[in-house]
Symmetry: D2
Protein backbone atom coordinates (compact mmCIF):
# COMPACT_ATOMS: atom_id res chain seq x y z
CA UNK A 1 0.00 0.00 0.00
CA UNK A 2 1.32 3.38 -1.04
CA UNK A 3 1.61 6.08 1.55
CA UNK A 4 -0.19 9.29 0.60
CA UNK A 5 1.02 12.40 2.43
CA UNK A 6 -1.62 14.19 4.50
CA UNK A 7 -1.46 17.37 2.43
CA UNK A 8 -2.06 15.47 -0.80
CA UNK A 9 -4.97 13.57 0.75
CA UNK A 10 -6.74 16.73 1.78
CA UNK A 11 -6.03 18.26 -1.61
CA UNK A 12 -7.63 15.23 -3.26
CA UNK A 13 -10.67 15.39 -1.04
CA UNK A 14 -10.93 19.05 -2.01
CA UNK A 15 -11.38 18.06 -5.69
CA UNK A 16 -14.86 17.32 -7.01
CA UNK A 17 -15.62 15.09 -10.00
CA UNK A 18 -15.11 17.97 -12.41
CA UNK A 19 -11.83 19.03 -10.85
CA UNK A 20 -13.39 21.94 -9.01
CA UNK A 21 -12.49 22.44 -5.39
CA UNK A 22 -15.37 21.77 -3.00
CA UNK A 23 -14.85 25.19 -1.41
CA UNK A 24 -15.45 26.86 -4.77
CA UNK A 25 -18.50 24.72 -5.54
CA UNK A 26 -19.87 25.67 -2.15
CA UNK A 27 -19.23 29.39 -2.79
CA UNK A 28 -20.98 29.15 -6.19
CA UNK A 29 -24.04 27.69 -4.44
CA UNK A 30 -23.98 30.42 -1.79
CA UNK A 31 -23.77 33.12 -4.48
CA UNK A 32 -26.58 31.61 -6.55
CA UNK A 33 -28.79 31.26 -3.46
CA UNK A 34 -28.10 34.85 -2.42
CA UNK A 35 -28.77 36.14 -5.94
CA UNK A 36 -32.08 34.29 -6.01
CA UNK A 37 -33.26 35.38 -2.56
CA UNK A 38 -32.26 39.05 -2.97
CA UNK A 39 -33.82 39.43 -6.43
CA UNK A 40 -37.02 37.61 -5.46
CA UNK A 41 -37.38 39.55 -2.20
CA UNK A 42 -36.73 42.94 -3.81
CA UNK A 43 -39.06 42.42 -6.77
CA UNK A 44 -41.89 40.92 -4.69
CA UNK A 45 -41.80 41.59 -0.93
CA UNK A 46 -40.12 45.02 -1.14
CA UNK A 47 -42.17 46.39 -4.06
CA UNK A 48 -45.43 45.09 -2.54
CA UNK A 49 -44.67 46.29 1.00
CA UNK A 50 -43.38 49.74 -0.01
CA UNK A 51 -42.26 52.34 2.54
CA UNK A 52 -38.74 51.70 3.82
CA UNK A 53 -38.51 48.69 1.49
CA UNK A 54 -38.42 50.90 -1.61
CA UNK A 55 -36.19 53.64 -0.26
CA UNK A 56 -33.52 54.21 -2.94
CA UNK A 57 -30.47 53.20 -0.89
CA UNK A 58 -32.05 49.96 0.35
CA UNK A 59 -33.53 48.88 -2.96
CA UNK A 60 -30.30 49.61 -4.86
CA UNK A 61 -28.35 47.55 -2.36
CA UNK A 62 -30.72 44.57 -2.77
CA UNK A 63 -30.52 44.69 -6.58
CA UNK A 64 -26.76 45.23 -6.71
CA UNK A 65 -26.22 42.43 -4.20
CA UNK A 66 -28.25 40.13 -6.46
CA UNK A 67 -26.21 41.17 -9.50
CA UNK A 68 -22.72 40.89 -8.02
CA UNK A 69 -23.60 37.46 -6.60
CA UNK A 70 -24.65 36.37 -10.08
CA UNK A 71 -21.42 37.69 -11.63
CA UNK A 72 -19.25 36.16 -8.89
CA UNK A 73 -20.89 32.78 -9.46
CA UNK A 74 -20.27 33.14 -13.21
CA UNK A 75 -16.58 33.97 -12.64
CA UNK A 76 -16.17 30.84 -10.52
CA UNK A 77 -18.12 28.67 -12.99
CA UNK A 78 -15.83 30.04 -15.73
CA UNK A 79 -12.74 29.29 -13.65
CA UNK A 80 -11.53 32.89 -13.98
CA UNK A 81 -8.26 33.71 -12.21
CA UNK A 82 -9.94 36.92 -11.01
CA UNK A 83 -12.71 35.15 -9.10
CA UNK A 84 -11.08 35.83 -5.73
CA UNK A 85 -10.82 39.58 -6.43
CA UNK A 86 -14.51 39.74 -7.34
CA UNK A 87 -15.50 37.59 -4.35
CA UNK A 88 -13.77 40.14 -2.10
CA UNK A 89 -16.08 42.92 -3.33
CA UNK A 90 -19.07 40.56 -3.27
CA UNK A 91 -18.44 39.85 0.43
CA UNK A 92 -18.54 43.58 1.20
CA UNK A 93 -21.80 44.11 -0.69
CA UNK A 94 -23.39 41.06 0.99
CA UNK A 95 -22.32 42.28 4.45
CA UNK A 96 -23.89 45.68 3.78
CA UNK A 97 -27.08 44.12 2.40
CA UNK A 98 -27.42 41.75 5.38
CA UNK A 99 -27.06 44.68 7.79
CA UNK A 100 -29.56 46.84 5.89
CA UNK A 101 -32.13 44.04 5.72
CA UNK A 102 -31.69 43.37 9.44
CA UNK A 103 -32.27 47.06 10.24
CA UNK A 104 -35.46 47.23 8.17
CA UNK A 105 -36.74 43.88 9.42
CA UNK A 106 -39.05 41.11 8.15
CA UNK A 107 -36.41 39.84 5.72
CA UNK A 108 -34.81 37.01 7.71
CA UNK A 109 -34.29 34.77 4.71
CA UNK A 110 -32.41 37.55 2.93
CA UNK A 111 -30.25 38.32 5.98
CA UNK A 112 -29.29 34.66 6.28
CA UNK A 113 -28.50 34.23 2.55
CA UNK A 114 -26.38 37.40 2.54
CA UNK A 115 -24.45 36.47 5.68
CA UNK A 116 -23.80 32.98 4.38
CA UNK A 117 -22.63 34.31 1.01
CA UNK A 118 -20.44 36.99 2.60
CA UNK A 119 -18.68 34.36 4.75
CA UNK A 120 -18.14 32.03 1.80
CA UNK A 121 -16.89 34.82 -0.50
CA UNK A 122 -14.54 36.12 2.21
CA UNK A 123 -12.92 32.68 2.42
CA UNK A 124 -12.68 32.54 -1.38
CA UNK A 125 -11.12 36.02 -1.50
CA UNK A 126 -8.58 34.68 0.98
CA UNK A 127 -5.62 36.65 2.18
CA UNK A 128 -6.02 39.31 -0.51
CA UNK A 129 -8.88 40.91 1.39
CA UNK A 130 -8.66 42.87 4.60
CA UNK A 131 -11.42 45.15 5.83
CA UNK B 1 -66.05 21.26 8.45
CA UNK B 2 -66.04 23.36 5.33
CA UNK B 3 -65.90 21.66 2.00
CA UNK B 4 -63.09 22.86 -0.23
CA UNK B 5 -63.59 22.18 -3.93
CA UNK B 6 -60.92 20.01 -5.52
CA UNK B 7 -59.78 22.76 -7.88
CA UNK B 8 -59.22 25.19 -5.03
CA UNK B 9 -57.33 22.55 -3.04
CA UNK B 10 -54.90 21.90 -5.86
CA UNK B 11 -54.50 25.61 -6.40
CA UNK B 12 -53.63 26.02 -2.74
CA UNK B 13 -51.14 23.18 -2.84
CA UNK B 14 -49.62 24.90 -5.86
CA UNK B 15 -48.75 27.93 -3.67
CA UNK B 16 -45.44 27.97 -1.83
CA UNK B 17 -44.75 29.97 1.34
CA UNK B 18 -43.86 33.06 -0.70
CA UNK B 19 -46.96 32.83 -2.85
CA UNK B 20 -45.05 31.44 -5.79
CA UNK B 21 -46.51 28.47 -7.62
CA UNK B 22 -44.49 25.27 -7.18
CA UNK B 23 -44.35 24.85 -10.96
CA UNK B 24 -42.63 28.21 -11.29
CA UNK B 25 -40.22 27.51 -8.43
CA UNK B 26 -39.39 24.24 -10.12
CA UNK B 27 -38.80 25.96 -13.47
CA UNK B 28 -36.51 28.53 -11.80
CA UNK B 29 -34.41 25.70 -10.38
CA UNK B 30 -34.27 23.95 -13.77
CA UNK B 31 -33.12 27.19 -15.43
CA UNK B 32 -30.49 27.92 -12.80
CA UNK B 33 -29.17 24.34 -12.98
CA UNK B 34 -29.02 24.49 -16.79
CA UNK B 35 -27.28 27.89 -16.70
CA UNK B 36 -24.70 26.54 -14.28
CA UNK B 37 -24.00 23.29 -16.15
CA UNK B 38 -23.80 24.91 -19.62
CA UNK B 39 -21.52 27.74 -18.53
CA UNK B 40 -19.24 25.47 -16.49
CA UNK B 41 -19.03 22.86 -19.26
CA UNK B 42 -18.35 25.42 -22.01
CA UNK B 43 -15.70 27.33 -20.09
CA UNK B 44 -13.91 24.23 -18.78
CA UNK B 45 -14.59 20.96 -20.62
CA UNK B 46 -15.14 22.51 -24.08
CA UNK B 47 -12.22 24.97 -23.97
CA UNK B 48 -9.86 22.32 -22.57
CA UNK B 49 -10.96 19.56 -24.98
CA UNK B 50 -10.97 21.75 -28.10
CA UNK B 51 -11.81 20.36 -31.56
CA UNK B 52 -15.57 20.04 -32.11
CA UNK B 53 -16.16 21.49 -28.64
CA UNK B 54 -14.95 24.94 -29.70
CA UNK B 55 -16.54 25.02 -33.15
CA UNK B 56 -18.31 28.40 -33.37
CA UNK B 57 -21.89 27.13 -33.72
CA UNK B 58 -21.59 24.69 -30.80
CA UNK B 59 -19.83 27.05 -28.44
CA UNK B 60 -22.23 29.92 -29.17
CA UNK B 61 -25.17 27.62 -28.48
CA UNK B 62 -23.72 26.57 -25.10
CA UNK B 63 -23.07 30.17 -24.04
CA UNK B 64 -26.41 31.51 -25.29
CA UNK B 65 -28.24 28.62 -23.61
CA UNK B 66 -26.53 29.54 -20.33
CA UNK B 67 -27.50 33.20 -20.75
CA UNK B 68 -31.16 32.74 -21.70
CA UNK B 69 -31.61 30.31 -18.80
CA UNK B 70 -30.21 32.96 -16.45
CA UNK B 71 -32.52 35.63 -17.84
CA UNK B 72 -35.57 33.34 -17.77
CA UNK B 73 -34.87 32.52 -14.11
CA UNK B 74 -34.55 36.25 -13.38
CA UNK B 75 -37.89 36.99 -15.11
CA UNK B 76 -39.62 34.35 -12.96
CA UNK B 77 -37.90 35.51 -9.77
CA UNK B 78 -39.08 39.04 -10.64
CA UNK B 79 -42.62 37.80 -11.27
CA UNK B 80 -42.66 39.39 -14.74
CA UNK B 81 -45.85 38.90 -16.74
CA UNK B 82 -43.61 38.13 -19.75
CA UNK B 83 -41.93 35.11 -18.14
CA UNK B 84 -43.96 32.65 -20.21
CA UNK B 85 -42.99 34.33 -23.49
CA UNK B 86 -39.31 34.17 -22.57
CA UNK B 87 -39.62 30.57 -21.34
CA UNK B 88 -40.98 29.65 -24.78
CA UNK B 89 -37.77 30.82 -26.46
CA UNK B 90 -35.66 29.32 -23.67
CA UNK B 91 -37.22 25.90 -24.34
CA UNK B 92 -36.23 26.11 -28.02
CA UNK B 93 -32.63 27.07 -27.21
CA UNK B 94 -32.36 24.27 -24.61
CA UNK B 95 -33.74 21.70 -27.07
CA UNK B 96 -31.16 22.74 -29.67
CA UNK B 97 -28.33 22.71 -27.11
CA UNK B 98 -29.31 19.26 -25.81
CA UNK B 99 -29.32 17.88 -29.36
CA UNK B 100 -25.97 19.48 -30.22
CA UNK B 101 -24.32 18.20 -27.04
CA UNK B 102 -25.71 14.70 -27.70
CA UNK B 103 -24.27 14.74 -31.25
CA UNK B 104 -20.81 15.80 -30.08
CA UNK B 105 -20.83 13.42 -27.12
CA UNK B 106 -19.19 13.24 -23.68
CA UNK B 107 -21.52 15.89 -22.28
CA UNK B 108 -24.22 13.78 -20.64
CA UNK B 109 -24.72 16.14 -17.70
CA UNK B 110 -25.32 19.03 -20.10
CA UNK B 111 -27.76 17.02 -22.25
CA UNK B 112 -29.76 16.09 -19.16
CA UNK B 113 -29.86 19.64 -17.72
CA UNK B 114 -30.91 21.08 -21.10
CA UNK B 115 -33.65 18.47 -21.66
CA UNK B 116 -34.99 18.97 -18.15
CA UNK B 117 -34.99 22.75 -18.52
CA UNK B 118 -36.62 22.59 -21.98
CA UNK B 119 -39.45 20.43 -20.61
CA UNK B 120 -40.02 22.70 -17.62
CA UNK B 121 -39.91 25.90 -19.72
CA UNK B 122 -42.29 24.41 -22.28
CA UNK B 123 -44.84 23.79 -19.52
CA UNK B 124 -44.32 27.32 -18.21
CA UNK B 125 -44.76 28.77 -21.71
CA UNK B 126 -48.03 26.86 -21.78
CA UNK B 127 -50.51 27.09 -24.60
CA UNK B 128 -48.82 30.17 -26.08
CA UNK B 129 -46.10 27.99 -27.59
CA UNK B 130 -46.43 25.58 -30.46
CA UNK B 131 -43.48 24.29 -32.44
CA UNK C 1 -16.22 46.92 -65.32
CA UNK C 2 -18.21 44.10 -63.85
CA UNK C 3 -21.90 44.56 -63.36
CA UNK C 4 -23.05 43.96 -59.80
CA UNK C 5 -26.73 43.12 -59.44
CA UNK C 6 -28.71 45.56 -57.29
CA UNK C 7 -29.57 42.91 -54.71
CA UNK C 8 -25.92 41.97 -54.23
CA UNK C 9 -24.92 45.62 -53.92
CA UNK C 10 -27.39 46.25 -51.16
CA UNK C 11 -26.32 43.04 -49.47
CA UNK C 12 -22.71 44.22 -49.58
CA UNK C 13 -23.59 47.63 -48.23
CA UNK C 14 -25.40 45.78 -45.44
CA UNK C 15 -22.06 44.28 -44.31
CA UNK C 16 -19.92 46.19 -41.82
CA UNK C 17 -16.15 45.79 -41.41
CA UNK C 18 -16.62 42.85 -39.07
CA UNK C 19 -19.06 41.10 -41.35
CA UNK C 20 -22.06 42.11 -39.26
CA UNK C 21 -25.09 43.44 -41.05
CA UNK C 22 -25.75 47.14 -40.40
CA UNK C 23 -29.32 46.33 -39.38
CA UNK C 24 -28.02 44.06 -36.61
CA UNK C 25 -25.43 46.58 -35.46
CA UNK C 26 -28.19 49.16 -35.32
CA UNK C 27 -30.44 46.83 -33.30
CA UNK C 28 -27.59 46.12 -30.85
CA UNK C 29 -27.21 49.87 -30.29
CA UNK C 30 -30.97 50.30 -29.80
CA UNK C 31 -31.01 47.46 -27.24
CA UNK C 32 -27.99 48.78 -25.34
CA UNK C 33 -29.46 52.30 -25.28
CA UNK C 34 -32.83 50.98 -24.04
CA UNK C 35 -31.13 48.83 -21.39
CA UNK C 36 -29.18 51.83 -20.16
CA UNK C 37 -32.11 54.29 -20.09
CA UNK C 38 -34.56 51.84 -18.43
CA UNK C 39 -32.13 50.72 -15.73
CA UNK C 40 -30.93 54.24 -14.98
CA UNK C 41 -34.47 55.65 -14.90
CA UNK C 42 -35.83 52.86 -12.67
CA UNK C 43 -32.97 52.93 -10.18
CA UNK C 44 -32.85 56.73 -9.93
CA UNK C 45 -35.93 58.64 -11.12
CA UNK C 46 -38.49 55.96 -10.17
CA UNK C 47 -37.03 55.09 -6.75
CA UNK C 48 -36.55 58.76 -5.86
CA UNK C 49 -39.99 59.87 -7.10
CA UNK C 50 -41.93 56.99 -5.54
CA UNK C 51 -45.72 56.68 -5.83
CA UNK C 52 -46.83 55.23 -9.17
CA UNK C 53 -43.17 54.91 -10.17
CA UNK C 54 -42.56 52.11 -7.66
CA UNK C 55 -45.84 50.27 -8.13
CA UNK C 56 -44.87 46.60 -8.56
CA UNK C 57 -46.17 46.10 -12.11
CA UNK C 58 -44.48 49.23 -13.44
CA UNK C 59 -41.17 48.74 -11.71
CA UNK C 60 -40.95 45.08 -12.75
CA UNK C 61 -41.63 46.05 -16.35
CA UNK C 62 -38.83 48.65 -16.30
CA UNK C 63 -36.32 46.20 -14.83
CA UNK C 64 -37.30 43.29 -17.06
CA UNK C 65 -37.21 45.56 -20.12
CA UNK C 66 -33.65 46.55 -19.17
CA UNK C 67 -32.65 42.90 -18.73
CA UNK C 68 -34.15 41.47 -21.93
CA UNK C 69 -32.58 44.32 -23.94
CA UNK C 70 -29.21 43.41 -22.43
CA UNK C 71 -29.66 39.73 -23.27
CA UNK C 72 -30.90 40.46 -26.80
CA UNK C 73 -27.85 42.64 -27.44
CA UNK C 74 -25.62 39.84 -26.13
CA UNK C 75 -27.30 37.27 -28.43
CA UNK C 76 -26.65 39.51 -31.43
CA UNK C 77 -23.08 40.28 -30.37
CA UNK C 78 -22.55 36.51 -30.03
CA UNK C 79 -24.07 35.91 -33.48
CA UNK C 80 -26.57 33.40 -32.03
CA UNK C 81 -28.98 31.85 -34.52
CA UNK C 82 -31.72 32.44 -31.94
CA UNK C 83 -31.31 36.23 -31.84
CA UNK C 84 -34.43 36.81 -33.95
CA UNK C 85 -36.59 34.70 -31.62
CA UNK C 86 -35.37 36.64 -28.59
CA UNK C 87 -35.76 39.99 -30.39
CA UNK C 88 -39.42 39.08 -30.98
CA UNK C 89 -40.06 38.84 -27.23
CA UNK C 90 -37.90 41.91 -26.58
CA UNK C 91 -40.10 43.96 -28.93
CA UNK C 92 -43.20 42.96 -26.96
CA UNK C 93 -41.64 43.90 -23.62
CA UNK C 94 -40.39 47.24 -25.00
CA UNK C 95 -43.85 48.05 -26.43
CA UNK C 96 -45.45 47.36 -23.04
CA UNK C 97 -42.80 49.40 -21.19
CA UNK C 98 -43.15 52.37 -23.57
CA UNK C 99 -46.93 52.36 -23.06
CA UNK C 100 -46.64 52.08 -19.28
CA UNK C 101 -44.08 54.91 -19.07
CA UNK C 102 -46.29 57.08 -21.28
CA UNK C 103 -49.29 56.47 -19.01
CA UNK C 104 -47.37 57.36 -15.84
CA UNK C 105 -45.69 60.37 -17.46
CA UNK C 106 -42.44 62.31 -16.99
CA UNK C 107 -40.38 59.56 -18.60
CA UNK C 108 -40.10 60.79 -22.19
CA UNK C 109 -36.54 59.56 -22.69
CA UNK C 110 -37.60 56.07 -21.61
CA UNK C 111 -40.66 56.08 -23.89
CA UNK C 112 -38.51 57.06 -26.86
CA UNK C 113 -35.77 54.49 -26.16
CA UNK C 114 -38.36 51.71 -25.72
CA UNK C 115 -40.28 52.61 -28.90
CA UNK C 116 -37.06 52.81 -30.90
CA UNK C 117 -35.86 49.46 -29.56
CA UNK C 118 -39.25 47.79 -30.13
CA UNK C 119 -39.25 48.92 -33.78
CA UNK C 120 -35.67 47.74 -34.35
CA UNK C 121 -36.25 44.37 -32.63
CA UNK C 122 -39.47 43.82 -34.58
CA UNK C 123 -37.55 44.20 -37.84
CA UNK C 124 -34.85 41.85 -36.55
CA UNK C 125 -37.47 39.29 -35.53
CA UNK C 126 -38.71 39.53 -39.11
CA UNK C 127 -41.37 37.32 -40.55
CA UNK C 128 -41.22 34.89 -37.61
CA UNK C 129 -43.19 37.31 -35.45
CA UNK C 130 -46.85 38.19 -35.77
CA UNK C 131 -48.79 39.90 -33.04
CA UNK D 1 -25.79 89.16 -12.41
CA UNK D 2 -24.93 86.77 -9.63
CA UNK D 3 -21.36 85.70 -9.12
CA UNK D 4 -20.87 81.95 -9.11
CA UNK D 5 -17.69 80.75 -7.39
CA UNK D 6 -15.29 78.80 -9.62
CA UNK D 7 -15.61 75.60 -7.59
CA UNK D 8 -19.36 75.62 -7.85
CA UNK D 9 -19.16 76.26 -11.57
CA UNK D 10 -16.95 73.26 -12.17
CA UNK D 11 -19.17 71.15 -9.94
CA UNK D 12 -22.15 72.22 -12.00
CA UNK D 13 -20.37 71.44 -15.23
CA UNK D 14 -19.64 68.00 -13.79
CA UNK D 15 -23.40 67.39 -13.47
CA UNK D 16 -25.32 66.07 -16.46
CA UNK D 17 -29.04 66.63 -17.03
CA UNK D 18 -29.88 63.60 -14.90
CA UNK D 19 -27.62 64.64 -12.06
CA UNK D 20 -24.94 62.13 -12.97
CA UNK D 21 -21.35 63.27 -12.99
CA UNK D 22 -19.81 63.41 -16.46
CA UNK D 23 -16.90 61.27 -15.27
CA UNK D 24 -19.32 58.49 -14.33
CA UNK D 25 -21.27 58.79 -17.58
CA UNK D 26 -17.97 58.55 -19.43
CA UNK D 27 -16.95 55.44 -17.44
CA UNK D 28 -20.34 53.80 -18.18
CA UNK D 29 -19.74 54.35 -21.90
CA UNK D 30 -16.20 52.94 -21.67
CA UNK D 31 -17.51 49.84 -19.85
CA UNK D 32 -20.35 49.28 -22.32
CA UNK D 33 -17.99 49.70 -25.28
CA UNK D 34 -15.47 47.27 -23.76
CA UNK D 35 -18.23 44.75 -22.97
CA UNK D 36 -19.46 44.93 -26.55
CA UNK D 37 -16.04 44.66 -28.21
CA UNK D 38 -14.78 41.82 -25.98
CA UNK D 39 -17.95 39.72 -26.33
CA UNK D 40 -18.22 40.27 -30.09
CA UNK D 41 -14.52 39.54 -30.66
CA UNK D 42 -14.51 36.40 -28.51
CA UNK D 43 -17.68 34.91 -29.98
CA UNK D 44 -16.77 35.70 -33.59
CA UNK D 45 -13.09 36.41 -34.33
CA UNK D 46 -11.66 34.13 -31.63
CA UNK D 47 -13.98 31.16 -32.22
CA UNK D 48 -13.56 31.41 -36.01
CA UNK D 49 -9.77 31.87 -35.89
CA UNK D 50 -9.12 29.13 -33.34
CA UNK D 51 -5.60 28.23 -32.17
CA UNK D 52 -4.28 30.62 -29.53
CA UNK D 53 -7.58 32.52 -29.67
CA UNK D 54 -9.47 29.66 -28.02
CA UNK D 55 -6.84 28.68 -25.47
CA UNK D 56 -8.70 28.40 -22.15
CA UNK D 57 -6.88 31.19 -20.28
CA UNK D 58 -7.28 33.71 -23.11
CA UNK D 59 -10.90 32.92 -23.90
CA UNK D 60 -11.92 33.01 -20.22
CA UNK D 61 -10.25 36.39 -19.83
CA UNK D 62 -12.14 37.81 -22.83
CA UNK D 63 -15.51 36.53 -21.57
CA UNK D 64 -14.94 37.57 -17.95
CA UNK D 65 -13.74 41.00 -19.09
CA UNK D 66 -16.99 41.39 -21.05
CA UNK D 67 -19.05 40.33 -18.03
CA UNK D 68 -17.38 42.49 -15.37
CA UNK D 69 -17.62 45.53 -17.69
CA UNK D 70 -21.35 44.86 -18.03
CA UNK D 71 -21.80 44.57 -14.27
CA UNK D 72 -19.68 47.65 -13.55
CA UNK D 73 -21.79 49.67 -16.00
CA UNK D 74 -24.95 48.37 -14.29
CA UNK D 75 -23.63 49.36 -10.83
CA UNK D 76 -22.97 52.91 -12.06
CA UNK D 77 -26.31 53.13 -13.88
CA UNK D 78 -27.94 52.00 -10.61
CA UNK D 79 -25.98 54.59 -8.63
CA UNK D 80 -24.65 51.92 -6.25
CA UNK D 81 -22.32 53.13 -3.51
CA UNK D 82 -20.12 50.11 -4.32
CA UNK D 83 -19.46 51.11 -7.94
CA UNK D 84 -15.93 52.32 -7.16
CA UNK D 85 -15.01 49.00 -5.50
CA UNK D 86 -16.23 47.05 -8.53
CA UNK D 87 -14.52 49.47 -10.95
CA UNK D 88 -11.23 48.74 -9.16
CA UNK D 89 -11.49 45.03 -10.00
CA UNK D 90 -12.78 45.83 -13.49
CA UNK D 91 -9.65 47.91 -14.18
CA UNK D 92 -7.44 44.95 -13.24
CA UNK D 93 -9.34 42.54 -15.50
CA UNK D 94 -9.26 45.03 -18.41
CA UNK D 95 -5.50 45.57 -17.98
CA UNK D 96 -4.91 41.81 -18.09
CA UNK D 97 -7.20 41.38 -21.11
CA UNK D 98 -5.51 44.24 -23.02
CA UNK D 99 -2.09 42.69 -22.38
CA UNK D 100 -3.23 39.20 -23.41
CA UNK D 101 -4.87 40.47 -26.61
CA UNK D 102 -1.71 42.45 -27.46
CA UNK D 103 0.44 39.33 -26.98
CA UNK D 104 -1.76 37.20 -29.24
CA UNK D 105 -2.14 39.94 -31.83
CA UNK D 106 -4.72 40.91 -34.48
CA UNK D 107 -7.10 42.29 -31.84
CA UNK D 108 -6.27 46.00 -31.89
CA UNK D 109 -9.85 47.14 -31.33
CA UNK D 110 -10.07 44.97 -28.23
CA UNK D 111 -6.73 46.20 -26.87
CA UNK D 112 -7.84 49.79 -27.27
CA UNK D 113 -11.29 49.27 -25.69
CA UNK D 114 -9.74 47.43 -22.72
CA UNK D 115 -7.04 50.04 -22.14
CA UNK D 116 -9.56 52.86 -22.36
CA UNK D 117 -11.92 51.10 -19.94
CA UNK D 118 -9.10 50.24 -17.51
CA UNK D 119 -8.03 53.90 -17.39
CA UNK D 120 -11.58 55.14 -16.85
CA UNK D 121 -12.36 52.53 -14.17
CA UNK D 122 -9.10 53.27 -12.36
CA UNK D 123 -10.10 56.93 -12.08
CA UNK D 124 -13.57 55.90 -10.88
CA UNK D 125 -12.05 53.55 -8.29
CA UNK D 126 -10.07 56.56 -7.12
CA UNK D 127 -7.79 56.51 -4.16
CA UNK D 128 -9.17 53.20 -2.88
CA UNK D 129 -7.13 51.32 -5.47
CA UNK D 130 -3.37 50.92 -5.57
CA UNK D 131 -1.65 48.31 -7.67
Amino acid sequence: MTHIPQSEQSMRSEQSMHGMRHSMQSCIQACMECHQVCLQTAMNHCLETGGKHVEPEHFRLMMCCAEICQTSANFMLSNSTFHNRLCGVCAEVCDACAQDCKNIGSMDECVEACMNCAESCRQMAGSSMQH
